[in-house]
Amino acid sequence: MIRLTRAAIDYLALTEEVRRGDCGAVVLFLGTVRELTGERVTVALDYDAYPAMAEKKMAEIEAETRKRWPVGAMILEHRLGHLEVGDISVAVAVSCPHRVEAFEACRYAIDRLKELVPIWKKENWADGSTEWVHPGA
């Protein structure tokens, strides 16, 4: 299951959703807004998306992940809008029968999400300036 949301990510609900009797392992990844990038201080991030394509790509990532590992349940959820330091921007929860699979599947899903999903963040630096983050641009 995939979700784009403007509300705070409720990772407890999301983790409960993936727990299953036939899965002995759950791995949850949370991406949170970090205060420091090198020497620069972030006060907030704004996340923008191309929603229709982002949802399509996230659904494809779920399908690819399920093809490669015996996933019981998984949820990819990304938050959009204005986030403060410490807020959760993305959560990936995966349950699998065994732990190695659950770690690999969760890591694959977040790695692919960061590569492929049309979502962008704008830094709000402590000095008042802002800057879209476009790696390599």
Binding site: G31, Y47, D48, A49, Y50, A52, M53, A54, K56, H78, S89, V90, I110, L113, K114, E115, L116, V117, P118, I119, W120, K121, K122, W132, V133, H134, P135, G136, A137
Partner: protein, 77 residues
């Protein structure tokens, strides 16, 4: 045709979409954008394009009424 703009591309032009004559391929569109919007040139050179919600290469044809988007390098997560 309409081209959707996001992130820095939107800020550079101050609009979230632009109207432009039909282009046969993504490569044609990229060249056209670069000529018409010099401010966008640097970013357009390193951006991807999407045609109907799928990543497209410069040789991808653009069908009539396609939804086209300029996608600067992504930074979600």
């Amino acid at each position: 045709m309409t081209v959707l703009l996001f992130a820095r591309a939107r800020d550079l032009l101050g609009i979230d979409r632009l109207e432009i004559d039909e282009a046969a391929t993504v490569g044609d569109l990229r060249r056209r954008l670069t000529q018409l919007y010099p401010k966008l040139a640097g970013l357009a050179a390193v951006s991807a394009f999407a045609v109907n919600n799928e990543f497209a290469s410069d040789t991808t044809p653009i069908p009539a009424n396609a939804e086209v988007a300029l996608l600067p390098p992504v930074s979600g997560g």
